[in-house]
Symmetry: D2
Subunit: 341 residues, 4 copies
């Protein structure tokens, strides 16, 4: 069986694992108050050029997104998301469970347009009955998006300007941020994210960590005490140093983006094969997720020997399927997949 | 000034008021346990042909809708609504504040289509990752709709069959139900609602009561004790008999639909005037709300002497405006409006 | 049957009712934006000596308390209440349903002591693990208390100083405030409440209104937009002027405290009778609620001809029962009750 | 420095870590659908003698407790807990944040008494106004308790009978369950828990796992789909097999209770030393947490070389401090602590 199902099928990158093993029997205090967490925070602040930023370590992406909604949004505010955004579609209603609407706007190739968001916000404030309508209280983007595409630095800059004009936070979900940073098509750095966003998270689970995400908060105007909120939401890792050790390792010697480069290279190899065989793509492939249009019959036969996601039945005899590479993908597997395609 | 702004500008219908005055100094127990409430419940059950139904009296529509979401939906379930539905657009996120997503589907003239709902539900259950997606847990309709249109009995029957097939409640928001019942275009009776829906409410606030809505529940498979939930949500009227007296009056001698008939007749008179002057409508007018397309300049001049809602700027020099009649509308006012148009 | 069950058995005070009838057919805009609401707000601000205060009209007490919890408390904050406080015991968990703990502290005769609250808050902040514990985020008092007792001005002043020291709001539930204002034992005025509290509500439902409470907010540091929150929570009265008319009437010519005086006088008459017959009290009676200790056999026989609350079985052959008077209580009824005791 | 601060200062037990390393590069599907999770579930079901039980793997205790409250309690229901229970005191209001009251009853040595719970429930249902009061909807116990004490099998049996009589779930928080199972004073087995409780969790984080808890559910009458709820609450571990591998290892060859035995033996060694030096205990020490009464001056000097918790200042020159042992505690450290005492 070949595995291109998702980017979290293995455990940790060997270097991360080595450090977890090495520190396993050390005794540290809990809840992120240990020296490894502090060390990791410092490295992340340095990598982001944001010495004043708060950094919180969390166990997963849905947890992080819901936490941000809960702690940043005021009552009656909602979170603007592309209709294809993870918070809108694949988190079992986690944001709504915190009491807030996801305001889903149309997306193109997984991306929100600044124009559409601007128009929505302006229309909201122009409406005579705006107080009866959920207030746009945050903009949520994913980078890379759920369709593997990337925002550009000018786009992110415009989103930032728009959000600051309306005094609402801009938040970027970076579940796969490492694969953006490693992509040749990307022009948004960690420094840009820290400068332009109010909060974003650096995904670990899908990018080399055993588990864990690092939430970077540059704007402290949120409601309530994040430490307590993390505890309250069951998102506090008792042995916080597990996260500190991992992120400290990932942010040493450029490991984070470095190990993700393999995913980009193997994805690129796969794109070439797919193109050579005439397959089309749902979205232009630039990171580690490829959304490929395929005959249903081919999908069925391929599933016997390859694990991958069936994204969407198009209803015309074709489907969209997703192939994902990651830091651990082996070139031989890509080649074998190529033969089966 | 002429008033066509909404259908809740006056107090109570004189007959309702008379009964409130008459009973004012009587002493009754609170919380809906009095004889007036019981009497009103019996009359409503009789009018609905539903001797087993539970009837709860509440103070307002948003309160009732949020209560139904809170008490009927399980965690991770959402409420399907037309995108123009009141719960989706004009309740400040009341449903989401109970922790549940409003699943907004496209609407035509304010109405959901059964086909669209069926497709959504079927797609949901066919999705391999359905457990990561908010489950469709209820269908919410408004009758008449927010655009004044009406579902037909065959449509409601189909919705009912679909919901029963998938074992989810069908809930009808009847904030203006009296105006549906009084419309010549309507073929859905209270008996149909009780037979086909799991819950619906009979709007009082906009239909002759001073305030109040009667929630009729025919399916008792909801989660939790509704009496306590009503109390918990601050929706319990201490002097419950105020609601009992009003609904008992409205359900005596056909008063409810009877008094709403005036709104239909005056609306019809206004439709004729508007048509004769060449105005177009956003939705075919059959109840007491008329959505009229008007030049912006006309809107501006008319607002000086008439109170009405600016529904939507079309952006092409025209707007949609809303004129509303009710049980208290005077024919002379319609005629005077006609002269100004 | 004689009725001493509660203070909300009748409808509205005749003068309030008269104004509702008089204004019934006037047309006004909704949601509290009408002239009657504005007039009532002005009169209340004047009576409170608080020209800058925000005044919101709501339909009931539980609704108001939950609204205050929801809009004033930050995540992870709780509301300190006496264990006998209405929010802790008789609102079906309304505050907790907004996501916040009620921190119940011991009470004496229904009253919290400043010393106990101070000690709790100081211990909280001294605890090494305070971030794992719900933060005291508000102090909730009732005046008169659930046992009919009164705070003194020095006590309220101390609570105010304590809350300001710790920058948390002091909130007073005045469901029966009129009966405090009319009591000879009371030394807290509306001006004191406005000066010392961050928010309090002036109860209408139990004090002469048909229904309604006036929430006075002097400190605007709450989270979110109260108008929208009121809408979201289903606490917005569409025909807002119903509340405006009532409170404007109650705050004309001292009607509010004036009509409550009858309750104090009839309660006092009943206290004298009870004392003369040797009955004891659970709490010293100074307002319109009397908590009387009575043999169980007497309770049972009295219930045949008098409606009153059985407060608590003491388990020793005696019970605590509650007799309540109000603005409408007739002296003849008190005399007849006296004969039956 | 000597460490007796808590039982989660190290990483994983070496055998658990070995299996995590060994399986690290295997590719598995996510969300607990892999073979390791299935294997762990089977082993746990076997150990509990509950072949029909559902087993869910979660990342932490607060997360698990809040999940149980959210998915088992109906609106207006609360969770009965000893006042010293973790859900009441040390989870930042996690249960209340799900909308439910923690009904805190007095505790003795950390334990609830069946009699007190019975009386509370009976009083509730006997109250004429019970519908205005939060309904007791679950009983929450911790075994061992927060003070290290143990329930007895007769006590647990009585709790079970009481809960079944009133048809409410009995839930046991087993954050430190391994230390109960390894204690000579314990007579409650996994089979008893599965037989008598509706749900309980087997703590991993404090008992040898790197992280993770196993929630065992024998009664499926909860509200909603637990898989989706876990996802919604951000409690779904993407790489679910991390938890499967750990619990499969812990439930092989009796490892779970076996490794916890060391904590009991070293705690017992420490108890002997403390007794010999005349120290008293807050609660009778039978598991791995010792609550010792100590002069404040001794506390201050000891803290220079030993890490331990200051539990409570008694205010009379003495304090309660907590020493905790775990699976990794070394006898030499206990001996050195003994010398310092």
């Amino acid at each position: 069986m070949l595995y291109f199902e998702c980017d979290y099928m293995e455990g940790a990158h060997p270097e991360v694992l080595r450090r977890l093993v090495e520190t396993n029997m050390e005794k540290t205090l809990g809840y992120g108050t240990d020296a490894y967490c502090e060390e990791a925070r410092e490295k992340i602040r340095a990598a982001c050029g944001a010495p004043e930023a708060d950094v919180y370590f969390l166990a997963g992406g849905t947890q992080t997104n819901a936490l941000v909604a809960y702690s940043f949004l005021k009552p009656c505010q909602g979170m603007i998301s592309p209709v294809t955004g993870h918070v809108n579609h694949h988190e079992s209603g986690a944001v709504e469970a915190t009491g807030h609407k996801v305001i889903a706007l149309p997306a193109s190739e997984g991306k929100l347009s600044v124009a559409a968001v601007r128009e929505y916000i302006e229309s909201y404030w122009a409406d005579e009955n705006y107080q009866h309508i959920v207030e746009p209280g945050m903009v949520y983007l994913t980078h890379p998006t759920e369709l593997g595409t990337l925002y550009t630095l000018p786009e992110l800059t415009e989103f930032s300007e728009l959000c600051r004009k309306y005094r609402i936070p801009l938040y970027v979900d970076g579940a796969r941020l490492g694969y953006a940073l490693a992509s040749d098509a990307n022009d948004i750095s960690l420094l840009d994210l820290a400068r332009l966003c109010d909060a974003f998270y650096i995904g670990g689970t899908k990018c080399g960590a055993m588990f864990g995400e690092a939430l970077v908060v540059t704007n402290r105007n949120f409601v309530g005490d994040l430490f307590s909120i993390i505890k309250q939401r069951g998102a506090m890792t008792a042995k916080g140093r597990l996260l500190g050790v991992q992120f400290s390792t990932l942010f040493t010697d450029g490991l984070y983006a470095g190990i993700c480069r393999n995913a980009i290279e193997t994805a690129s190899m796969l794109v070439d094969i797919l193109r050579s065989k005439g397959y089309g793509f749902l979205a232009y492939p630039v990171t580690n997720q490829l959304f490929v249009i395929m005959e249903d019959s081919k999908v069925d036969s391929l599933r016997k020997s390859v694990s991958f996601s069936l994204w969407e039945r198009l209803g015309d005899g074709r489907s969209v399927v997703r192939f994902v590479t990651n830091w651990a993908t082996i070139r031989e597997d890509v080649a074998r997949l190529g033969e089966l395609l």
